[in-house]
């Protein structure tokens, strides 16, 4: 066996891929993860949506359509996977609050509520209704956050503006990592004589120390402080990605950046290796099994052609929801666009249906019938199927 022959190669660095990779590394396997770029998880709110169809997420899952891939994961595995996730993120100093017992609400930058299951600890104090008394902080020149949207819906809200010297989400977040900047901010905030019960800040409170920063502000202001997720660049999404990535690496996983898979080596019913584009020779990596976690359309796992939909790495058979006319609903904002069901259909071992190879497992948003938007099952679904596919992979490892 060559030195760079892996037990398992994960394709895709999103929440599903990193979860599967870390779990397998933890079992003592040699795991590599290859990725074309950074995942759409970085663009997300960082909240873990399990299933938003019901106040009780597990009840919600039980009522999903028959063919929904969530039914392939036992409730024990879902529970275990989310517990593991919370432990991982706590160890990375980015703890998550909430649990599978019931969903919670998170205030959005538009003043609406988003239903989710686990939230970063920085959103723990997010109000649960429009009557709560909140004071919103915004930053001079920050184009991605307008407190007016929230104030128009909240009767008991006011705002003040802080001049951070920079006006981008990234720039402000980087500044918060600097203790003297944080101290100056707190002193300013103390002078505002906030009367409301809670303080809201757009999600710019640091890059990796957000949990500690929010604690410090709460301690000094003597009231709960919470972050409101913003449009990308989204700091909570990046913290989530960084936490999972660093955890995977600590468990011994190796990551290959800039590695879009363009070719596959196979013998009989086994995939032997994946190959990446390169300026020089093609690079290839061998493994005994492969986990596909390349995401849906935005993530880059699926591509819609004129009349068909293709899976980009292995050209696996894709479930296509009928003719092109059936892909889209008339109403743009509808939750029922047929295209949301496109993806890879898998059997109970998370192996693609109708696939000529035995050592490929699929998890995350690329799975067929997911309808992530409609069902409100995002990262939670990725975490659960990520761990379930990894378990199946270990069980069936050739």
């Amino acid at each position: 066996m060559s030195v760079i022959e892996y037990d398992v190669i994960i394709i895709g660095a999103g929440v599903a891929g990193l979860t599967a990779g870390a779990w397998l590394s933890e079992q003592g396997l040699k795991v590599a993860l290859v990725t074309a770029g950074e995942p759409t998880a970085c663009l997300s709110t960082g909240c873990i949506d399990v299933c938003a169809k019901n106040d009780d997420p597990l009840q919600g899952i039980a009522h999903l359509s028959q063919d929904h891939p969530f039914h392939l994961v036992s409730s024990g595995t879902i529970r275990q996977a989310l517990d593991d996730f919370q432990q991982i993120m706590a160890a990375m100093n980015m703890p998550y609050t909430g649990g599978l017992e019931n969903n919670r609400r998170v205030l959005s930058a538009l003043g609406t509520f988003k239903t989710t299951c686990l939230t970063p600890v920085t959103m723990q104090a997010s109000p649960q209704n429009e009557n709560e008394r909140i004071h919103i902080i915004t930053f001079a020149g920050l184009k991605d956050f307008y407190p007016g949207y929230i104030i128009s819906r909240f009767k008991n809200a006011s705002f003040s503006t802080y001049d951070a010297g920079v006006s981008t989400t990234m720039g402000i977040a980087a500044n918060f990592e600097d203790e003297s900047f944080l101290e100056a901010f707190i002193l300013w905030l103390e002078k505002q004589q906030v009367r409301e019960d809670k303080i809201a800040v757009p999600a710019v409170l640091g890059l990796e120390s957000a949990a500690a920063i929010i604690k410090q502000i709460e301690y000094r202001l003597e009231r709960p402080v919470f972050e409101i997720p913003t449009i990308p660049p989204s700091m909570p999404g990046r913290r989530l990605f960084n936490g999972l990535k660093d955890h995977f690496r600590r468990k011994g996983g190796m990551i290959y950046w800039g590695w879009p898979v363009v070719g596959v080596e196979k013998t009989g019913r086994q995939i032997e290796a994946v190959m990446a584009q390169s300026q020089g020779r093609p690079n290839s990596l061998n493994a005994r099994a492969f986990i596909l976690a390349t995401g849906s359309f935005v993530g880059g796992g699926l591509e819609a052609k004129r009349d068909t939909i293709v899976e980009k790495v292995f050209h696996l058979p894709v479930f296509v929801p009928g003719e092109r006319e059936a892909w889209f609903d008339q109403d743009y904002f509808s939750m029922n666009h047929g295209i949301g069901r496109a993806g890879i259909a898998v059997d109970s071992s998370f192996r693609p249906v109708g696939c000529p190879w035995d050592n490929i497992f699929v998890c995350g948003a690329i799975l067929a019938h997911t309808e992530a938007l409609k069902n409100g099952c995002g990262h939670g679904f990725a975490i659960a199927t990520g761990q379930a596919a990894a378990k199946s992979c270990l069980e069936h490892l050739p």
Partner: protein, 394 residues
């Protein structure tokens, strides 16, 4: 240049080290694909801020859509360089190769001068930062100290690069001894600066002249059955990407197909069962700072794979942070604050790991990190040679 593929997701911006600390730089999305839509060959470039890009290529590694913001900005930098007078610092660093040749010839004098107060003052006047000491020229270059031999069947043409040749020939000699211990014939083909410093200082014409000479020289060796092995990750990136890309050097593809990172090459030999190195215990706890350009080579981290084979060695990979120096970028007074802030951040994360020393493939990363942290910084090959019992005998 595929700037139309940009979906404006800002993942590149999140990964840009310069954007993080320098509010004057609008970030890779705006400086790259966004601004590109407004750039015209018939108009003089006015966007001086393109020079703030350090060409670390982190944006390209992060982009999920295959856009290459750094490449777009690099081209804008060349256009800017063509249309505007070059500062003294830009001219000096672009011609780093000639400067270093002179520096090595007069090494005892040049090194002493660079360390004096007057020397530093003159540098600062010229727009050169002196927050970390300049690397010391070596009187005896690698080129001048090695003779070739040719007995073995596997043959390597070693592209050692300026840093090893002028400043650290001892590392070069270790590499040669290591390859020779694997029964590989090593020659030092005639070679010049890879051209990256010239490119980074807006001097495409000079870069192309270096590249053309290198390709002509290396081409002869490839034809004669030699594999090209490089050790500097930035030289490698230039050989593989820029010769074929922005410089458009004929014959560059052949060189790219036959060039290997040193550690990638050793791994390949192990995988093909040609060699079976016996790694002996090395009791060290190291932080492996991944140079941005190693990341950009898209070959994974082969030195990390190799160091995993060394018993007793603990080596934590850190690849989220740019050291800030970026070759000559941080040595320019105008970028000093950026370089210092990024370096400080990288160092604080290294210190958090509890490592006793730093390891990094890139000479300029090592200079910056050692200079700012006071810790030792090694080339991975130094650790591997320690494990294999290979020493530098002059």
């Amino acid at each position: 240049m595929k700037y139309e593929h940009c979906i404006r997701c800002t993942i590149c911006v999140e990964n840009c080290p310069v954007f993080r600390v320098n509010p004057a730089f609008p970030g890779p999305k705006q400086a790259g694909p966004d601004a590109q839509r407004f750039r015209s060959n018939r108009e003089k470039s006015a966007d001086e801020w393109v020079l703030s890009c350090s060409q670390c290529k982190r944006c390209e590694m992060a982009c999920p859509c295959g856009v290459e913001p750094a490449q777009i900005i690099l081209r804008a930098q060349q256009k800017y360089g063509l249309e505007h007078p070059h500062t003294a610092a830009h001219l000096l660093f672009a011609n780093n190769y000639y400067l270093s040749t002179l520096g090595s010839l007069t090494a005892p004098l040049a090194n002493r001068f660079a360390a004096t107060k007057i020397g530093k003052k003159i540098f600062q006047r010229m727009g050169i930062a002196t927050y970390i000491p300049f690397p010391k020229f070596s009187f005896k270059t690698l080129r001048g100290s090695m003779k070739s031999r040719s007995r073995e069947t596997r043959k390597v043409a070693f592209f050692y690069g300026c840093f090893i040749n002028f400043y650290r020939p001892d590392i070069g000699r270790k590499i040669i001894r290591m390859l020779q211990s694997f029964k590989i014939d090593v020659v030092l083909p005639p070679q010049w600066c890879c051209g990256l410093p010239a490119l980074g200082n807006g001097n495409l014409a000079l870069a192309r002249s270096f590249a053309g000479k290198n390709i002509a020289s290396l081409s002869n060796y490839v034809d004669a059955g030699y594999d090209v092995v490089y050790t500097c990750t930035s030289c490698g990136l230039c050989l593989l990407h820029d010769y074929q890309g922005i410089m458009e050097i004929p014959g560059a593809k052949k060189i790219a197909e036959n060039s290997y990172d040193l550690h990638e090459y050793v791994l390949k030999l192990i995988a093909e069962r040609e060699i079976k190195p016996q790694f002996k215990e090395v009791n060290r706890t190291l932080a492996y700072h991944i140079p941005c350009h190693l990341r950009a080579l898209e070959i994974g981290y082969p030195a990390a794979n190799l160091m995993q084979l060394i018993p007793g060695l603990t080596c934590q990979i850190l690849d989220d942070n740019c050291c800030g120096l970026n070759g000559s970028y941080g040595f320019k007074k105008i970028n000093e604050v950026t370089a210092l802030q990024l370096g400080g951040r990288a160092v604080s994360l290294i210190k958090k790991t509890g490592a006793e020393a730093i390891v990094a493939d890139c000479g300029s990363c090592r200079m910056q990190l050692a200079g700012l942290s006071g810790m030792d910084a090694f080339d991975p090959v130094e650790i591997i040679c320690e494990s294999l019992g290979i020493k530098d005998k002059k």
